[in-house]
Symmetry: C2
Subunit: 122 residues, 2 copies
């Protein structure tokens, strides 16, 4: 069973954290064929943190987890912090495949998203 864990930075502004959790909920509803479990986690400032988010996926029955950094830029958080935390957490689950996806800004689809969003300007 495949799980997708969306990892955002986490904000002191709780509405921002709620938005990220809502995106996980929406994604769960529209990608059940590819990812049976979709959850959100945070690098800091909000719950659950990444290790707890991974644990929740595994408790739900995941046999593989893809950690998806919900970041537009490849800063230190994307390049160093998230991979390091995932690598540490992975040691606790030897039977489970835990991967890290590129950050969103790296996707070719980003161009389509930018144009589509611009076309809905108000």
């Amino acid at each position: 069973m495949k799980a997708l864990l969306i990892v955002a930075h986490g904000s002191r502004r709780e509405e921002s954290n709620v938005e990220v959790r809502k995106i996980a909920t929406q994604l769960r509803q529209c990608s059940t064929d590819q990812y049976h479990i979709v959850r959100a986690a945070f690098l800091e400032l909000a719950d659950p943190l990444i290790p707890e988010g991974i644990k929740q996926c595994i408790d739900d029955g995941a046999t593989s987890v893809i950690v998806l950094p919900y970041f537009l830029n490849s800063g230190r958080h994307v390049v160093e912090d998230i991979p390091r935390i995932v690598a540490q957490t992975r040691q606790g689950y030897p039977g489970i495949e835990i991967g890290v996806a590129p950050h969103l800004g790296a996707s070719a689809l980003m161009m389509d998203l930018l144009i589509a969003t611009a076309n809905t300007s108000r």
Copy 2:
């Protein structure tokens, strides 16, 4: 002539600002039919700032400018700061249409982008 101005937060880490400018360049190459001018600007910490970015588009010949917030969450920057700065700048250019697009996290295409990015995990 339509212009698209991608507005990111701006970072003390210059590589992040360079990434945003690269996205504007990529977008310019793939959307010439819809937006003849594509530029990047920043809310703070990097150049050009939003008013200067709008001015550059108009100097390039733009008769309409869409400001696209390159943000995942609808925080204060998206809800208050960017619309306020755009509204102030708009007063200096009465003949030019200057709109603000929703932030990226609001787009329905975001779900496709998330799944596509997850599928390229390493």
